[in-house]
């Protein structure tokens, strides 16, 4: 059995960028994901963080083969799935599942909860032990919902409950890897904690691996074993959670961490803040050299011309910067 449940080698996904109008031709490409290497070990939670537009969601979706990668390789459970066709992917999909951000648009409003959750069985032609209804009831109990609600519709549930339905659906086929794309960012704080705890419990019980995509660093810190920081389609830094938060080596990671508001007035107001100037550049036309050079306070000439190599700077910590901290 392979040690890593998921390995990405130089994963790249470009989307065609079109100029407006119906007769438009591709004008360039959006470099959404540009050469990402990362691994997820069995039972591990890897947090993928970055600002909007950094390509973190695209990584998650490409892993699931919802997008065809432009280049690179995806190794799932020891098998290269990069070039598998739709039909060939089907048996593999049952081992990798996704939880979506928006619990309102990711559940079919015309289907009952029972239909939504059992559709996994129907699609894969699986007859679970003890029958479909029995399994669905079990799943509902597992995620903390009342199994009597099996015939209700999504609109009868609150946001947090709907997210639990999405989680129950993803667990139906007993997957090995779950890609969770911003699973709590649409929820209120008191509900976020409930869902995070649920994900924690399920991981312990089933030995799940998570690729946890989020922009909220405090949640990522809480749930992840390792964290990958992305910026404009590239990995800037990768390290075990504690190392990354205590000793960030990439200027962007440092800036990102210092921008997170801390829910503690004394610490929040006394610490030194790095406020990066400006906005995220366009991924259609990323800056030459290091993609962060336009906002980096340490940028020098070499940063504008040469793309920094990803170097191992400490055990398990890699950073892509010419002048790491």
């Amino acid at each position: 059995m392979a040690e890593n449940i998921l390995e990405l080698h130089n994963l790249t996904k470009f989307f065609p960028a079109k100029a407006g109008g119906i007769f438009s031709r591709a004008k360039g490409e959006v470099r959404a994901v540009d050469g990402v290497n990362l691994t997820v070990a069995r039972g591990e939670t890897v947090g993928l963080v970055g600002e909007s537009g950094c390509g973190k969601t695209t990584v998650g979706r490409t892993v699931m083969k919802l997008y065809e990668p432009t280049a690179g390789r995806i190794i799932f459970d020891g098998e290269d799935i990069t070039n598998l066709k739709r039909q060939e992917m089907k048996p593999i999909r049952s081992k990798m599942q996704m939880i979506f951000q928006d619990p309102f648009s990711s559940l079919n409003p015309r289907h009952t909860v029972g239909t939504i959750i059992s559709s996994s069985y129907t699609i894969h032609g699986i007859e679970p032990e003890g029958g479909v209804e029995h399994s669905v009831r079990e799943l509902l109990t597992l995620v903390g919902l009342n199994p009597e609600h099996i015939n209700r519709f999504p609109h009868e549930f609150s946001g947090g409950q709907r997210q639990r339905i999405g989680i129950a659906r993803s667990l139906a086929l007993k997957p090995k890897l779950i890609v969770a794309d911003e699973p709590v960012s649409a929820l209120d704080v008191s509900i976020q904690a409930q869902v995070i705890n649920l994900l924690d419990d399920l991981q312990k019980e089933f030995g799940l691996s998570y690729l946890f995509v989020a922009h909220d660093l405090s949640i990522v810190q809480h749930i992840s074993d390792r964290v990958v920081v992305m910026y404009l389609g590239k990995v800037m830094e990768m390290a075990p959670t504690r190392t990354l938060f205590e000793n960030p080596r990439h200027p962007y990671t440092k800036a990102l961490l210092s921008a997170v508001p801390i829910a503690d007035p004394k610490i929040g107001r006394s610490r030194e803040r790095i406020i990066v100037q400006g906005d995220l550049p366009s991924p259609v036309n990323p800056p030459s050299g290091c993609v962060f050079n336009t906002r980096c306070w340490k940028a020098q000439d070499i940063c504008r011309t040469a793309v920094p190599e990803t170097i191992q700077i400490a055990p398990q910590q890699t950073v892509a910067c010419h002048f790491p901290e």
Binding site: S218, I262, P265
Partner: protein, 340 residues
């Protein structure tokens, strides 16, 4: 001395087919010049609704509003709730302004940024069209838009999210108002841009001595910028205190639960989050008594079922720290210590 804005016993009710939505119940708060008041709560806690009433932005034919919201202007106080819509309209944009969460839908897509800022300026100032644009450039410069004299002719879609929020702030402040209500101003923005905008608001407040009401659900943002905090739950203010009191000496179980349920970057590696069980209440059908009671782990400690029978009063239990709970503070502190 009276504060610049004093809201007292504000009730906002929307009649619907399913019954009356009691979005804001006996809400009182005040904010002084140069002060930042944060109103914190989850979605549906009534934090936006109360402030829309202050701004006179509810549809009065369909909304029942009672109570008072006194704006202490230099030429005498005005009650924004009982005043005529025309009076409130003349104050809006001049004495008080509001910025919203989503700057893209708050800006008009067909008009240039400069025209929209100039329009707000022309409402209260006499001047030519080019004077308005000049003022717009000055404001864009103030809020940190680079090349303001060129970008003033851009349309909203040509601005990034952070720049749009800056443009909104420029528009809100063009007539130098004394009160700025910011409704989730940074929720739609990335953290690095969020910290830019929060710093901008703080700098502008220092420069113009504005009163700011910051409506948010993000306790981190509140911890960094607020002077005073009102915590809302189920349409009521459940705790009202200084920022230090809320974070270090909370007196309401809901505030405590909220603080415990946020993971903190500083708290080292993972402990289990202490989530608040259950769901926030429906504003149509609030629980009897204290609206937090069905989710409260301490309500069993209160004798004789007071929590389900009566709504606790917002008591000042010492030095301006107000809390709406039947539980004795000393008891609560003991319980918190026991758990920790």
């Amino acid at each position: 001395m009276s504060k610049f804005l004093e809201v007292t016993n504000l009730n906002v009710t929307f009649p619907t087919a399913d019954g009356d939505v009691h979005a804001s119940n006996e809400v009182s708060y005040s904010v002084g010049l140069g002060e930042t008041l944060a109103i914190v709560g989850e979605s549906g806690s009534g934090k936006s609704v109360s402030n829309l009433a202050v701004m006179g932005l509810h549809n009065v034919t369909r909304t029942k509003i009672t109570g008072s919201a006194i704006l202490n202007l230099s030429d005498g106080p005005v009650d924004l709730i009982s005043a005529s819509p025309e009076t409130v309209r003349r104050l809006r944009g001049k004495e008080m302004s509001m910025i919203f969460q989503d700057p893209m839908s708050a800006l008009h897509p067909f008009f240039s940024i400069g025209d929209q800022i100039a329009e707000a300026w022309h409402l209260y100032n006499k001047g030519s069209k080019s004077d308005g644009i000049k003022k717009a450039i000055e404001m864009l410069d103030l809020v940190g838009i680079p090349d303001a004299s060129v970008r003033v002719h851009d349309f909203p879609h040509q601005f990034s999210g952070g720049m749009r929020q800056r443009a909104m702030i420029a528009m809100a402040l063009v007539n130098n108002p004394s009160l700025l209500i910011a409704d989730e101003p940074t929720t739609a923005l990335d953290v690095t841009v969020q910290s830019q905008i929060l710093k901008l608001l703080k700098d502008l407040q220092n420069e113009f001595n504005m009163a700011i009401i910051l409506i948010t659900h993000d306790l981190g943002v509140v911890a960094e910028v607020a002077d005073r905090i009102c915590v809302m739950y189920g349409g009521r203010i459940v705790e009202d205190a200084s920022v230090e009191d809320i974070f270090y000496r909370p007196e309401h179980p809901y505030t405590l639960g909220l603080l415990n349920s946020v993971p903190r970057i500083t708290s080292g590696l993972s402990h289990r989050l202490r989530a608040i069980p259950g769901q926030p209440p429906s504003l149509i059908n609030l629980p009897s008594g204290c609206s937090f009671q069905p989710r409260c782990e301490y309500s069993s400690r209160v004798s004789s079922g007071a929590c389900t029978e009566s709504v606790p009063a917002l008591n000042d239990k010492g030095s301006g720290h107000l809390s709406r709970c039947h539980l004795d503070i000393a008891d609560l502190n003991d319980l918190v210590k026991d758990k920790a």
